[in-house]
Structure formats: structure tokens, C-alpha cells
Amino acid sequence: MQCKKARELLGDLSDGWPVEASLQEELRSHIAGCADCARYRAQLERFDAVFRAAPAVIQPPEAVWEKIREALSPGFVLQPQVPDVLGWLGNLLRQPAFAGMIVMAFFGFMLVAVVTRFTGQGGFAGKAATNEWINEDYATVYGFDTALERYLYR
């Protein structure tokens, strides 16, 4: 018997695959005269000893059953686990009415800003442009800080 065949049969025997009695006898004679295959069998037995020593049953932590029981309770709806990074603000933003208001306010602000920019009247840009206390000429003569001070304490 060749070593390759002998090791294949040793593996089959180790895994519990049926091997004919005549082949087993042939294998025994081969191993008796082959030190390499005898070492192979010894290593195979060492592998098997470790697997045999491993427990087939390991009890999971009690928390696993607690989660299952919770999921089985009436009215429980399984929610995907999403990290709540925004906290209460996140909850508020998830309200459709509030989110709608935010969007409308944003577009309203943008509309006002664009209109006042082109007309030069009303809004913040218009007020700044028509404010005599902080106009460009005054700031040029007296300096911006003085112009701002005068505007604030007028």
C-alpha cells in the first residue's frame, strides 16, 4: 500500500467513514513498517483528542433568553437597531410636521434673501445699505470701529 492511500484511509477511519476490513488489515501492516504514516496517525489522534474534549453543549448567557422572551411578548414590534446619535433632536426631526416646517422656513428665508439682494431694499441687506451711521464714507473717515461704536451707542 502506498503512503498516500494509507493516509487517506486513516483519515476516513478517523472521520468514521466505513473502510473494508481487508483494507484495514492492509493498512495495519503498512503502518507497522512505515514510521512516517505512524507519525501521521499519532498526529491525527492528537487532533481528535482535542475535538473529543470540546463540549457539545454550551449554555448561552441568560440575556439571550431574555431578549427572545421580550420579542415574544404581545405587542412587541421588532425595530432595527439604529444608534440614536441625535437624541431628542433626532426624535423631533423625525416628526413629519416639524420637518416640513423646517424645510418651508429654510426656503422662505432663501427667497427673502434672494429678493432683497436683487432689489436692494428691505431685509438685512437693505437696512445695512441705508443706515447712515455705518455707511461706507463714515467708516472710511473715522474708521470702522468708531463707526460701529457710534452705531451701537447712538
Binding site: G11, S14, P60, I68
Partner: protein, 188 residues
């Protein structure tokens, strides 16, 4: 458990949580053991166990107890555990370009718990052996060598032909010998 199993299943299917807990207490040990050995990660094993029992609960009404409940549960457990392995490997692949073997060896950041009365040396050795196998080989080896399932039962649980079970076991054995040889060469 097998005695009165149908009755317990019927009670659990009717919404009796105590009956379902009895089923859980009976099966959770081997479900968790298979999941833990296959995924090599405690958190994944706990999630797999939870998913297996949620699926079992959903299918209780269809389950008549004619076929072996254990085989059914083994199948779901191995499927869920292999999915968890694949998901974890995909996650690692996105992060780094590494070969399959290295990925497998890095899956478990923890030392696996062995259960009561098991020498820590055995646990370390077992973990080392399982680390060199791919998830499919690992599942076959666990079911055969640790759970003691027959070839037919493994084939049914994994939904593969018996010869595939045999070839996966053979490849697992070869991988173990290769790793052992490499370790010896490195030690010299």
C-alpha cells in the same frame, strides 16, 4: 424532550411562553455551542442563537415533530452561523485586502469560552485548529467531531450530498496538517 415533544410544540405554537422556554432550555446549549464554534465570536453566536429561536417560534405551527427537531434546528443554526461568518468577512474585506486564511484567523478577538470543566489548553488548541479552516469546513468538522452527527445527518443539516461532507472533512484534515507543519517549521 422527544417524549411529549409534539404536545410541547403545540402548546408553544398556541402562545404558551413557558412551553417555548422548555424547548429553548433543551436546545439552546447545542445551538449556542455550534454557533460559537462556527462563528468563533461570542456576540455573533448570541445573535445566531436568538435568530434561530425566533425562526423556530415562527415555524412552530408547521412543525409536526415527524422529522427530527434537532436536524431542523441544526440546519437553521449552521445557516445562520455561516451567514454571520460571511457578513463578518465582508466587513473585514471592505477594510483590508487580505487572504482568506488571514481573515479567518482575525475573526475572533476574544478567547472562546469553553464551557464547564474544560481545560483552557484544550480551548486554545481547539480555537487554533478551527481558525485554519474555512466556515464550511469548520461547520462539517464541528457537526461530525464535536456534535457527533452521522454523515447523513450532516448532509441533511447542510443540504449537501454525503460525498461533499466527506470531501469537506478531508480538506479540513489537510488544512489542519498543513497548519501543524507550518507551525513546526516556524518553531525550528
Amino acid at each position: 424532550m422527544e417524549e411529549g415533544l409534539s404536545e410541547t410544540i403545540e402548546q408553544a405554537a398556541a402562545g404558551d411562553v413557558a412551553a417555548f422556554e422548555a424547548i429553548y432550555r433543551n436546545l439552546a446549549g447545542f445551538v449556542y455551542a455550534v454557533a460559537l464554534r462556527t462563528t468563533r465570536n461570542e456576540q455573533d453566536a448570541q445573535e445566531v442563537t436568538q435568530d434561530v429561536f425566533m425562526k423556530l417560534h415562527q415555524n412552530l405551527k408547521d412543525f409536526r415533530g415527524e422529522s427530527s427537531l434537532r436536524t431542523w434546528v441544526y440546519r437553521i443554526t449552521v445557516n445562520e452561523a455561516l451567514n454571520a461568518c460571511r457578513a463578518r468577512n465582508r466587513h473585514f474585506r471592505k477594510r483590508v485586502e487580505m487572504d482568506e486564511q488571514t481573515l479567518e484567523q482575525q475573526v475572533d478577538p476574544h478567547t472562546l469560552e469553553a464551557g464547564p470543566d474544560v481545560e483552557p489548553g484544550v480551548t486554545r488548541q481547539l480555537d487554533k485548529y478551527l481558525a485554519v479552516l474555512n466556515p464550511d469546513q469548520r461547520a462539517c468538522l464541528i457537526l461530525r467531531k464535536i456534535q457527533g452527527l452521522s454523515y447523513e445527518e450532516i448532509a441533511a443539516a447542510l443540504n449537501i450530498p454525503i460525498n461533499t461532507v466527506r470531501s469537506r472533512l478531508k480538506r479540513a484534515r489537510e488544512a489542519l496538517f498543513d497548519a501543524n507543519k507550518k507551525e513546526q517549521d516556524d518553531a525550528v
